[in-house]
Symmetry: C2
Subunit: 348 residues, 2 copies
Amino acid sequence: MSHNTFNTFTDLNTLGEFGLIDALTKDHPSVKNTTLKSVGDDAAIIKNEGEVTVVSTDMLVEGIHFDLMYTPLKHLGYKSVVVNLSDIFAMNAEPSQITVSIAVSSKYSLEAIEELYDGIYTACKMYKVDLVGGDTTSSPKGLIISVTAIGQASAEDIVYRNGAKKGDIICVTGDLGASYLGLQILEREKQVYLAHPGVQPELEKNQYLIERQLKPEAQAGAIAYFRKNKVRPTAMIDISDGLASEVLHICKQSGTGAFIEEGKVPIHPDTERTAIEFKLDPITCALHGGEDYELLFTIDEKDLDKIRFMPEVYIIGEITDAADGVKLHTTGGNVHDITAQGWNHFTE
Amino acid sequence: MSHNTFNTFTDLNTLGEFGLIDALTKDHPSVKNTTLKSVGDDAAIIKNEGEVTVVSTDMLVEGIHFDLMYTPLKHLGYKSVVVNLSDIFAMNAEPSQITVSIAVSSKYSLEAIEELYDGIYTACKMYKVDLVGGDTTSSPKGLIISVTAIGQASAEDIVYRNGAKKGDIICVTGDLGASYLGLQILEREKQVYLAHPGVQPELEKNQYLIERQLKPEAQAGAIAYFRKNKVRPTAMIDISDGLASEVLHICKQSGTGAFIEEGKVPIHPDTERTAIEFKLDPITCALHGGEDYELLFTIDEKDLDKIRFMPEVYIIGEITDAADGVKLHTTGGNVHDITAQGWNHFTE
């Protein structure tokens, strides 16, 4: 019994912390042979493969990062894992283990937490990673999830944000802006529901956008393709904050400029249609919406042939000299600065 | 600008997430040559040394694990790191990197967060680990801290909880129960203060106990001693939940019993005195208090000579057959079962 302390969990059906961890992690044997010790000791033990360990972590807070009114707990669990795996892929590495810590208020039942873990384990299975540790505790209010993802790689495979150079081709692995519009739809339907609780939400026709928001995927396929075809991007980053912010990160860290061709940026037809419905410019949603979890990467010109046949890849621009700035070439023939701020910067 | 999303931080002096991370991590260059990439990319990159990576994580929640009325933020930062490093040492490994994620409500100023990070970096310096990543976000209420500690080790050095065998000697690295009584004093002075805000708290004479609660240390010295003297414990665990709980973990996982000699359990004179003041049995505080962050370990009989000259070590019992149970031999000559529950189990 710890009265104080760093390990209490009394509110949830009096299971206690050990009972809860047992209930959540049983029936999930490790799938990675690098997982030497999983849950159940002071720390997890992972066998080193390759020369480096890759580590990334994110914290998700109820009321800030997610709204349980329209986020099913299973999707939330899935997404919390995926957004972390995405960071490991963005280093051109493969994730192998995760730890998950949650703090949860007494309003949650064991069944609700099991739903969350169901999503977490679904993501583990999909991406072949082991859940090897974590912490469960109570919170005075709401749900907080902290996930740490770990991968192992060869040192020469690692791709940083800072390796882009003039003449490199800028690519992206999938369409952008959909997740942001999915969120706008969910927010709109929530407001409708709050005003008229009897009205059923109109979600079917927006399934693609909503799925991009609630159940994003990480780009495991792209990393596998790079490995198989012996191509190494010169710089890479995952798109969590929007294309503009990520291009600026690469240019700042690489000491370069860049231009993006507006007409080349992949935007899904549903994104186009819904952006207009919300009186937004689709390219603005792609540039500033975020949460797409696609990879933005640059490759040397000479590698262009190697990526032409990637199942999903879009060439959207080119790296330039720092003095040329970071620019958007619009379909109308204009040139704008790309900035991290101004949401409505490009709308008239 | 991320409206949605997984990376907002707008409440704290409009610094934004990147401004905050910059403000917090600048002037802290890495000290480990295994830190190949720290804060500033999608993930941290750590050079592998030895065959395994050791990972542990904890989440601390305001109002559950700490009370800011008597916990200085600098101490809180220090302790959040130390409790995680303690888990790495408990595997007989040395920590080398940590990640720190915080969620913080708008009532906190940048200066308050800097105070917290001052404590975090003080612990990093003391234990020679690098802060290599993390996440900063807002919370609707209070402060949440999630720390992940990482170490690298040789596979043959790792010590689990499950290696104890009959005849092994049970040892502990320092005195127990002090942290729990430190907390009782802080709670009592808080109640006095709330009833009579003018009264100054009586903390000086209880400095040792309060320091054990607010600023615990991890047992780096013990691990260094093991390495230097070529002794490998057969099982080890850190004492976060109290001696009783930890002995039971070792016995359960090792498939053994054990006895602990009450008279051999190290208890500080201040702990003795204050326990009696609170009408508690000192051995009860040692068994069930927790948060001591000493190491409990077992060694083969033949290694006894190797640890006799450890700067701080106490031999408190012996591993027995599982059938013999887990027992306390009291100074009065009685034998009690050691259980994880009953706080007042041993008091008359």
